[in-house]
Each structure stands twice: as C-alpha cells, then as structure tokens.
C-alpha cells in the first residue's frame, strides 16, 4: 500500500504525439461516462485486437475497453484496492490482473450503485452488453465477462472466436486457411446480428465498407510511420510507443486515429531531418521483444534512455503489417475482408519461418526487426499474471540464440591470439506484472538494467570489425 501511495515520477516522452495521448485516453474514458448519462448510444465492454471495431463504430456502439481501464489504474498506481476487492470475492491473485482489477471495480460499482470513490478518471461506465473474444489464446478474456455477469446479470454477452492456422514447418497455411476464413466470417456475421438486436438498428454496409477502408489506410500509415524509427539516431522509442499504440488499439476506424499518425509521421520526419534522437547520445539500440509493460513503471524506459539505450522497435502492440504486403484474396465484402486481414496478420511470418530451419514465426519477426532496426540487444518483460502473451518468450530467446548469432567478437584464444567467433544478441528478461505493483522491485529491476548495459558495453568493446 505504501508503494501505491507514492506518486510515480512522470515519464518523459520524446515526441509531442506521445505526450498528447494522456488527455486523449482521459477523454474516451470520460466520454463513455457522458454517453452513459445521456443514454443515446449503446456501450459495449470489449477487448482490443479483435478486428471488430469497424462493426461497432458502423453501428454507433461506443466501446468500453476494459483492459485499457485496468491499465490506467496501473499507470496511476491505483489498482491495488480493486485487486484486493476481487480477491475478497474469491478470485486468485495469480489470475490475469487486468481481469481482477476490472472485476473488483465492477463489483464495487454495482454494489454502490455509483462509481467507487476516487475512481481513476471518473471510472468505468456500466455497459449495455459485453463482447468477448479470447482470440484463440486468452482464456481470461473468455471468462472475464462471464464472471462480471455475477454482478450484472442483466447485461448480455456475445463471444466471438477468432482462430488462425497454427504454424507447421512442413505445411503451407494457405491449404487450410479458407476453412478458417469461412468460420471467422460466420462469427463476425453473428456479431453483426447480435449488435443489431441490441441496438435495434440495421447494419449500414456502405458505412462499414468506408470504415474498413479507413482502418486499412491507418494500418499502412502506422507501418510507414514506425518504419521511420530505423533512422540512426532513433527519433522515438518503445516508451513513447506504449502511448502511441492508443489510437491503433483503441480508436481504429476513426478519422482521429488516422490524423494522429499523419501528425506523428510528420513529427518523426522533422526529428530525423534535425538528427534528433530519443536519447542524446545513442549507444545501444534495443528491441522490446515481447511482453506487456509494467504500466506503473514506465519510467524504467527513461532509466534505460539515461544509459544511452534507445528502443527503435517493439513487437508488443505493433499489431499491423501493411495490407499491400499481405498475400490475401481481394473482396468487396467488408466482413470477408476483415476476416482475411485477421488471417493475413497472424500468418505473416509463416513463409519466412519455413525457410529457416529451426525457426518459428515469432522468432522470425524478432530477426526481421533486429536486422531492419540495427538492434544490439533484446529486452523482454515477463508479467506473471498473463500467461497468454508471456509463456514462450524465454523459449523464443533460446531459439533465437540457437539459430541466429549475428555478432562477430574477438575472443582471446588459448594461443594468446584473438579468435573471431559469432555470438548471440544479449538479452534482458524483466519480471513483474502488468498492474500488480507488489510484484515489482525498482532496485531489482534497475540492478538488472545496469548489468545488461554492462553486457552491451562489453560486447561493443569486443566487437570485431
């Protein structure tokens, strides 16, 4: 509790765009509360990266991003009382702490009949319905809203399944993805019917087509904008990207999201023209290779920056590949296109992985970023309460070290002469949680960072020409 009361030092951003995100998030949280009070629009609890925002926005449904609200509680170090509330209801602390925070909050709000005292940014609005999707990997997402129905039995749930073919090094995924496509299209059409029933409106397919096209343009723009971070020095790091992911993950199918990336792209181009980096003296270029961040400790990015470390790329929340690079069939049906886009994204690294013995799509993605962004080391964060995204990260690092040794170093051999050997990229694994601050130790984390920087420096000094 004592730690929670300590106000975190505000993280310094490298871009104006990232600095503008806080008010934007505050607005869409307070906006849902205004909408609740006005009662004109339907509100839906839901999750990010489910490729259904176009459907919701086409039908004027306002999404309430429950993971985002839990993350805000984490950033503001205000999650502990909601976690404790969920524990008092019998939920274990080892479950997803986003879900725990949300459930604790919901129960409290329903019990009081109003927002819990000092709820961050006015609190999370009560939904009209809930749309869940565990994709094919996150079981807490599937169970979260079912558990929430204990406190809101009048609020219906619709669950969508979003599978994709699993990687098989001996098979081309295109042989089977037609079956997956048909299934996803059925799921999305089912969602349309459910939302029509809940809102009493019919889907306007012309509007949906426009919003899908807008999302496609935004996807391509995000890709082009983030590719600018290949510049040396890097104009924007992962610390900022944990902010700039907001329009991509929470505001897709809106003009505001598109305009945000137009402005960010321009800002990065200007910084590159001025030779301005995220850090003043860039010594090490790091890849955030996986894991959701510890939202209450985003200052750790500033600490890494203070050591000359910049983060030109991350796999977390960069959930786009350009549409024109996807090998997917063309269609005029917006629902069918959404389903192909889903399959195209999740199978994007399959061909590359098949061509490198021992590789896997996730490892291939790491290699692509390491090469394109001139990466010196990989940082990952293991959040104990989220097995969905975090199981397998260490395995990825092991596979990476096994099949990819890009650094030539001179080692003193037994003959006293320097022998040139190839070594793997240094890596750092941070461990804590997404919002449970009791799992975090600043001293421990910074000690690990210091040791990692010493490792990077020793590699830099022994690197062969």
């Amino acid at each position: 509790m004592a730690e929670e009361q300590r106000k975190p030092k505000k993280r310094m951003t490298a871009t104006k765009a990232a600095a503008s995100i806080g008010p934007m998030v505050k607005e869409f949280i307070t906006g849902t509360n205004r909408a609740r009070a006005e009662g004109k629009r339907k509100l839906a609890y839901t999750f990010i990266v489910c490729h259904h925002e176009e459907i919701l926005r086409a039908m004027d449904v306002l999404p309430v991003w429950t993971e985002n609200f839990a993350g805000i509680c984490g950033v503001k170090r205000a999650a502990e009382r909601f976690l404790q509330k969920a524990e008092s209801l019998g939920f274990s602390r080892s479950l997803c702490t986003y879900a725990l925070c949300g459930l604790g909050f919901d129960q409290w709000r329903e019990e009081l009949g109003e927002m819990p005292p000092d709820a961050p940014w006015g609190g999370q609005a009560r939904p009209d319905f809930m749309i869940s999707s565990g994709q094919i990997l996150c079981d807490p997402r599937t169970k979260w809203y079912q558990a929430a129905q204990q406190f809101m039995p009048d609020v219906p749930i619709y669950n969508i399944d979003l599978p994709h073919p699993l990687f098989d090094p001996k098979k081309d995924h295109r042989e089977v993805w037609g079956y997956y496509h048909k299934y996803i299209v059925d799921q999305l059409r089912g969602l349309v019917s459910f939302v029509e029933e809940q809102t009493g409106k019919k889907m306007d397919y012309d509007r949906l087509r426009e919003l899908v096209a807008l999302s496609d343009r935004t996807w391509n723009l995000v890709h082009e904008t983030y590719e600018l971070r290949q510049a040396v020095p890097c104009p924007m790091g992962t610390g900022d990207a944990m902010n700039t992911m907001v329009p991509l993950c929470f505001m897709m199918a809106t003009q505001e999201a598109y305009d945000f990336y137009v402005n960010l792209k321009q800002e990065l181009e200007e910084k590159i023209a001025r030779g301005e980096g995220e850090v003043e003296d860039e010594k090490y270029r790091l890849l955030w290779g996986g894991g959701l961040p510890a939202w209450y400790a985003l200052n750790d990015f500033n600490y890494l920056n203070s050591k000359g470390a910049s983060f030109p790329a991350e796999t977390t929340y960069r959930m786009v590949v350009p549409i024109y690079e996807m090998d997917i069939p063309e269609t005029d049906d917006p629902i069918e296109h959404i389903a192909w886009k889903w399959l195209g994204y999740w199978t994007h690294w399959y061909d590359k992985a098949r061509n490198r013995p021992g590789s896997e799509p996730d490892v291939e993605r790491l290699i692509e970023y390491i090469e394109n962004y001139k990466i010196d080391g990989v940082v990952m964060h293991l959040a104990f309460s989220c097995r969905t995204w975090h199981v397998g990260l260490i395995w990825q690092l092991h596979q990476l070290a096994k099949i990819y040794r890009p650094i030539p170093v001179l080692m003193l051999g037994g003959n006293g002469k320097g022998d040139k050997v190839q070594r793997e990229l240094p890596s750092l694994i941070l461990e804590s949680d997404i919002i449970d601050i009791t799992s975090y130790s600043e001293m421990d984390t910074r000690n690990k960072i210091d040791a990692f920087i010493e490792t990077l420096e020793s590699v830099r000094q022994t690197k062969a020409a």
Binding site: M411, Y440, D444, A451, S458
Partner: protein
C-alpha cells in the same frame, strides 16, 4: 607514492573490501553491513588501509559494487556485482564460464567470457526463495551457526524430501519436520536439494556452459555445493573465499580502469 586500488562490495548482509597494490592483493576485510552503509564503507576502507600501512591518498581508484554501492560517496566508479564477480572469478579460475552467485537477497546465474566480461544473466527476482536469506531462516529454526550448517548436511544418511526453497515456507516446513522427529542433518540435506532445484530452474533458463563456479556467501556452504553437484552431475569450482570475489573483481576493475586512463593519456 605507492599505488593502491580498492574494491568494495556492499552487500545486503555483509560488506567486503579488497585492497590491491599493482596486481597483487595486499589485504581484505569483511563485516556486517548494518544500517549505515556509508559508515560501513568508510570503516572497511580504514581497516584495509590500517592493515596495509597506507593512507587514503594512496588509493588511486575505488570501485564499489553490491546493492549499497551507490551510497559509497568516495567511490570513483560503481559496477554491478555480477560484473565484479565475473572479473574476480576469471582472475582466480580462468576456465570458468558459468557462475552461480548465492547472495543474501538474490541468487544469480551468469555466463562470462574468457576476459571476465558478462555475457548473459538471470536473477532470482523480488522473491527471496533460493537466496542466502533462506539459509539464515533455517539456521534460526535449527539454532545452528550458519557456518556449521553445510558440514552437518554432509553427514546425512536418510533422504528427506523438502518441498520448497521459499524463505518463508521453508521455516514452517522445517518446524513441521522437526516435530516429526527428522534428524537435523537429513532435514538440512533435503532443504539444500530443494534450494538447488530452484537454482537449477534459473540456470536451465539461462543455459549452462562449462566450467562452473559458485560464489557468494552461499558457496561457503559445503552441503549446498554438494546438492548442486549431485543435481547437475558435474563438478562445481568454489574459489578460495568465494564471498570475496566481487570485492576482488571491483579492485581489479579499479586497477584496469587506471591502466586504461594512463594509456589514453599517453
């Protein structure tokens, strides 16, 4: 003027100092860290200087390491304890490539190159399980001196399963086992196996490369070293005074830093 180099390792339980002259260790000193790290650091410096018959101004460079290193106001440089251990270990045993450090707060496994540079590492994290603190808890329950615990475990004749390396649960489990009438030596041997299994999980995540060494206060415990060797199936080198290798490494880094500074000036 004689050139001395001072290495200080400010650990959470014990602090250590090594004074070197050129590339030779002159003297060393260790004492409990206590509540005032700055005072302890000064005390160690004064003790080694007194033993060496030297004065403060004879120290050309001081390098501090350990969790309290950043509060040593007279240190010229601070480095992490893993980098310091790496330099110390490679100086004493040049063939070592993997090091297990059992400190009071954390356990660490790290790989080093032939020049004593840190290559990769893993720490045990915020939880004290698998750390030296767990040893202290068991010593308290069994009313033993920590330095005699290792030898007692070597006399074990009966295999007792101990389920946890957690510092808190280990205490309650030890109390239960005593109540069951389990002999101290068997209980300790079982506890070390549980601790070794926990450290092994860390080591396997990192990947091991021979030769292997154990350092830190925990490496002075022969029972724990044996449990690790039994689990791994290979020999683990314990350098002389394994609790001092970080302080030694810090002194070596101090000397190396001065040599490089002179080279740059020339």
């Amino acid at each position: 003027m004689t050139a001395y180099y001072l290495g200080l390792d400010m650990g959470s339980a014990f602090s250590k100092g090594v004074l070197m002259k050129t590339d030779r260790v002159v003297t060393s000193y260790a004492c409990p860290t206590g509540g005032e790290i700055k005072v302890t650091a000064e005390r160690i410096r004064d003790e080694v200087l007194l033993k060496a018959g030297a004065a403060k101004q004879d120290i050309l460079k001081t390098v501090a390491t350990g969790y309290g290193s950043k509060t040593v106001f007279f240190a010229n440089v601070t480095v992490t304890d893993m980098s310091a251990h790496a330099k110390g270990v490679i100086h004493l045993c040049p063939s070592i490539r993997t090091v297990v450090d059992i400190g009071d707060l954390y356990s660490k496994v790290f790989r080093i190159d032939s020049q004593g540079n840190l290559q990769s590492f893993l720490l045990s994290g915020k939880c004290a399980g698998g750390s030296g603190r767990a040893l202290t808890m068991i010593a308290k329950v069994l009313q033993l001196k920590i330095e005699e615990m290792g030898e007692i475990a070597l006399r074990s004749t009966k295999k007792v399963e101990f389920s946890t390396g957690c510092a808190v649960f280990a205490e309650s489990e030890a109390v239960s086992r005593i109540a069951e009438g389990v002999a101290k030596e068997d209980l300790l041997a079982g506890f070390y196996r549980a601790l070794a299994a926990q450290l092994n999980a860390l080591a396997e995540r990192l990947g091991l490369e021979p030769d292997y060494a154990m350092v830190g206060g925990g490496a002075r415990n022969a029972g724990l070293v044996k449990a690790m060797e039994d689990l791994y199936g290979f020999e683990i080198v314990v350098p002389p005074d394994p609790h001092m290798t970080a302080a030694l490494g810090a002194a070596l880094i101090a000397a190396e830093t001065v040599r490089q500074e002179i080279k740059v000036r020339q």
